[in-house]
Each structure stands twice: as structure tokens, then as C-alpha cells.
Amino acid sequence: MKIIDTIRLSAQAISRYPLRTFMLVLAIAVGVAAVVLLTAIGEGARQYVNGQFTSLGTHLLIILPGKTETSGAGVTGVLMGETPRDLTLQDAIALHRSVHVEKVTPIILGSGTASWRQRQREITVIGTTAEMLDIQSWRIELGQFLPAVDMDVATPVCVIGSVVKNEFFGNTNPIGQWLRIGDTRCRINGTLAQAGRTGFLDSDELVILPVANAQQLFDAPGLFRILVQTTGPQVINQAKQDIIKITKSRHQGEEDITVVTQDAVLETFDSIFQMITLGLAGIASISLVVAGVLIMNVMLVAVSQRTQEIGVLKALGAQKHQILTLFLTEAMCLTGLGGLLGLVLGNGGVKLLSILTPELNFTAPIWAMAGSIGMATTSGLAFSIIPAWHAARLDPVSALAAR
């Protein structure tokens, strides 16, 4: 029996029962579409986070106080919040000794109440230096960023994010206005252009102070992080060694910092999101197994409906394996149709999502599409083996006599 003839016979059988075919195709399509849609969402989220990290700028090192076992797992150390020894401004300044270090900027993070005239608002305060502008790729909208002075010089100026600006000043020009933060006052030097969240900071919601002022404000000498931009991506590792050596010498020979490359952070998040995407795909493929059970049912009914026909085929000289192939092909055609419809529906859904949330880039990964089709086919095949085998084994005489 030729493959094309087998497929044609199966197609004829399928089109004979349009409702049955439609239901089954729909069940499979929903499963495949679910896989496509959910993995597209997972992938979209992963790419979004990736994009956020990349926007932090390349060849960046992040120094955290405290030592974690492997620097690759640095993120977890931060999450645990263990800080045995403070990183100080002097530590940050000392990093300039390395020839591989281009820019160093310390960060202090805290929250406080900002007020201007009668208006008051809880804000996030970040203490840093002029270098932060480049390192974070922030853009200035009005005025200027922090003045380029030594880290340890306190000047009563600040830069505000776009949301802070809008809430306090609306459309009026805030440059030169004095903003009160906690018990200090600072003159607004500039505002940031709206950017949304980049990396771990939402710059729109920030008030940015010189780091020395922030230290006074929070009355804490310890730095939250030091960001280091190296002279190039090739020297990341040398820079990292230098930083550890310099800090060690300043900390009585104790290696009590963690240097995280951006890659490491990125990889961690990347793998987390990949796991999530895989998990989503796994959950969605359960529906394909359910569809498989449905296929088994439908094929069992098909076999009992067509018992006489099977008897006829056998009387005409059909081999067992031919009958088996016919019914398996029928199941395959059904799952194939369902899979195709599922891809169309799923990708249609992805398109729709992309239109609704243009800031995220949703595309279903090829592996998910291929995998869900493979899964549907496998499930269809596996679950139709029993009915098809049942058909192939029928005794011709009793099959012909069946009603």
C-alpha cells in the first residue's frame, strides 16, 4: 500500500465524520496553542529582563559587600543580605588604582520623604556620582546631572526623575528650586528623561544625590554597591582580580566582597526564566496528553463503527499491519490537523498579545512549536495504538458479521 493512498483513505474517513473530526482537532489545537502562547510569554519575559540588564551597559562589574561562596551565585548572597564589613567611599576611590578600571561609582540606596512647599512624597534616594549617568545610560532632560567633583565632597544639589518632577512641579521648570529631603535641603540641578525601569532601578521615581550627601542623610558610611566600568570587555576578569586584590589589601587581607559580572547576573536570571518557560510548556503539554486520551476514545469508537469495513478489507487481502497503519494514519491526520490549527491559533494569540503589550517582544520559540507538535503527534500515536491494534486483530468472519 502506498503512503499517499494510505493518507487519502484516512482523509476520506476523517471527512466522513466532520463533527468528530472538528472536536478532536479543536482539542489538540487548544493544547498546542497553549504551549505556543505560554512559552511565548515566558520567552518575552526572559528577553525583557535580558534587555533590562543589557541596558545597564556592557563591561560592568558590580561589587557587593560580603563574600559569597562562588561569585557566580552572587545574586543569592545579595538576597540573603549578609553584610559583614561595610564598603566605604575610600574603598571605591582606591579602585582607580587598577589600570583596567575606567569609571567607578558608588551607590547608596535609601528612602526618605521629599517635600517642596506644601507637597510631600515618599521617594527612593540614591547617592552616587557624576559617572552614574554614563554607566546607567540615563539621559538628562533639563539642567545638568550631578557635578563632577570628588566622591567625598558633599554639595547640596540633586537630580530628580521624571515622575518626581511631574508630581512636584508639573509643567513648571524645577531647576534651581530647593527640595527638602529628610532634614537636608538640596538645589535641583537637573531632571532625568523618562526611561522606565532599567536594571534594578526605576530612574523615573528617583532623587539622586551626591554620595557624600546621601551618607550624611542616612548617617551610614556603608555603600550599597560599587559599580565599576572597565576599560573594555576583554579585561573584565583582570579588573575583577585587581578589585579583589585592592579591597583585600584594604580589609586586612580579608576577601569580604563579591564581584559580580553582569554576565553572571544575566545568566542567573536567564536560567530562571528558561526554567519558568519550560515549566509553562510542561503544564501546557498536559493538555496534549488529555487530548491523547480523547483520541484513544474516538479511535475506539471509529474501530467499532467500522468493524464490518475492517472485515471487508481483510477479505480483500489486507494485512494486519495495513489495517494498523490505516488507523494510525487516521489518528496522525487528526493530530496533524489539530497541530496546524494550534500553531495558527497560538501564533495568532501571540500576535494579539504583542499588539496589546507592544513593550514586550513575544515570539514563541521554535523548540516550543516543534515540541508541541511532536508531543501532540506522539500522544496521538501512543493513544491510538490500542484501538488500531484492536482493529488489526479482528477476526474477518466475525468482523463481517458485526452489525
Binding site: M1, A315, G317, A318
Partner: protein, 226 residues
């Protein structure tokens, strides 16, 4: 061509054993025209099924073209059916969703014949059945007599040596029945061995040789002693 020796066929029904065929001996030559008659339940269909290799005897030996086919395994049996046996039934057993032509082509399709060969052959066969204008009709668009003729076409499309007919006119009015008998007698004229099970004596009488079954035994055989 066909030789049966001591063929028995028992069926287990509950804890009882029903003997459908009881030590049947039979020899059939190429090109013979035989009718099998006998009361209902006498074993006519069972004998035909065994001759057609759809069923296996419980006991006894069956030689088809000098080859012992009573011990063949399923695969070889199917092959023999495909090559040597044509079957037609009381209820036609056409595949309802296939056209007359596709039904006729089915055995060729199962045998892996090319689409071109099938088209040509099915057209010729249906033409010889007087159905040239019914090629693309589905069974539900055909009369009973036409359906049975399509079924005959399907049975002979592989040019088998034997045509087995189990009550071929049982579901037809007498006019269509006559037509069907004429068609298969014509085929017999052309050389095919024809074995017809019937309980219509008029049809039975037309055969060259009459076999009568009774309680699973050959009660009467008009075979000329040579």
C-alpha cells in the same frame, strides 16, 4: 485446484461445542460452476469462509493449487486471499464513503498498485459490469443490483482463480438478482471458478454441479464421477 480432506469446523458456544462442518471432503477443478444449497445453519457460509481463507478449519487439510493452506499463518493467508480469492456477500459490503471506482480499486490499492494501473483496470472492470456511467457514484447513489455488481468488480479486479458468493442475490429483487447471476456466470464462462451459496433452488439449479449440505456434512454432490 481445491482439495478438502476431513475438514471440520467447531465453534465453542459457552461450554457447548457446535459442529458447523463435519469431515467435509471436496475437490473442485479450475473453472467449475458449483452451487451450495442446504437448510439454514447447515454450514454453507462456514464452508465458503474456509474456502475463502477467511476462516481456518479446526481439523482437516485444505490444498489450494496443490499447496497446503490449512497451516498457513495470517500473513500468508492474507496474501493468498489477495491473489486467489474473490468474495461477494449478501450485503455487498461496499465502503460507503468511497466511489464505485474507489471501491473496485481497493484491492489493488492494498496490493500497492500504481494509481494509473488502478484507474485503467477499474474502468475496464466496471465497464464489463455495465457500470461505465456509474464510476464516480457512491454506493448510496446506486441501486442494489448496481452495488452488487460493483462488489463483483471489486472481487475480480485482482483476477482471482475463484469467485465465492455467499447468497449474492439474497438482498436483491429477482430482476437485479438475475442480472447479477448473469454477470458472474459470464465470468465463469471466461474461466473463473464460481461457487455460489444460495437457498434459491432456481439459482442453484443453474450451476453445473450441485452440492447440498446437511448438518455440516455433504449430503449430496452431483459431481460426475470421472
Amino acid at each position: 485446484m481445491i482439495k478438502l480432506r476431513g475438514i471440520c469446523r467447531n465453534f465453542q458456544v459457552g461450554d457447548q461445542i457446535v459442529t458447523a462442518l463435519n469431515h467435509v471432503d471436496l475437490e473442485i477443478q479450475h473453472g467449475e460452476y458449483i452451487s451450495i444449497m442446504g437448510p439454514s445453519g447447515s454450514g454453507k457460509s462456514t464452508l465458503l469462509n474456509i474456502l475463502g481463507l477467511l476462516d481456518r478449519p479446526t481439523e482437516g487439510t485444505y490444498w489450494l493449487n496443490k499447496k497446503d493452506v490449512s497451516q498457513l499463518e495470517e500473513r500468508a493467508l492474507a496474501e493468498q486471499r489477495q491473489k486467489n480469492i474473490g468474495f461477494i456477500f449478501q450485503f455487498f459490503h461496499l465502503i460507503p464513503r468511497l466511489s464505485a471506482r474507489e471501491n473496485v480499486e481497493l484491492p489493488m490499492l492494498l496490493a500497492g498498485k500504481s494509481a494509473n494501473a488502478r484507474r485503467e483496470r477499474s474502468r475496464d472492470v466496471l465497464k464489463s459490469m455495465g457500470l461505465d456511467d456509474r464510476l464516480n457514484h457512491r454506493p448510496d447513489q446506486l441501486s442494489g443490483g448496481e452495488r452488487q455488481r460493483v462488489a463483483i468488480g471489486r472481487a475480480i479486479v485482482m483476477e482471482p482463480a475463484v469467485l465465492l458468493a455467499d447468497e449474492p442475490t439474497g438482498n436483491l429483487d429477482s430482476k437485479s438478482g438475475d442480472e447479477v447471476i448473469q454477470v458472474i456466470e459470464q465470468l465463469n464462462q471466461e474461466g473463473i471458478s464460481l461457487i455460489v451459496v444460495t437457498h434459491d433452488p432456481e439459482i442453484g439449479k443453474r450451476a453445473d454441479r450441485h452440492l447440498t449440505l446437511h448438518d455440516g456434512e455433504v449430503h449430496h454432490d452431483t459431481k460426475k464421477r470421472l
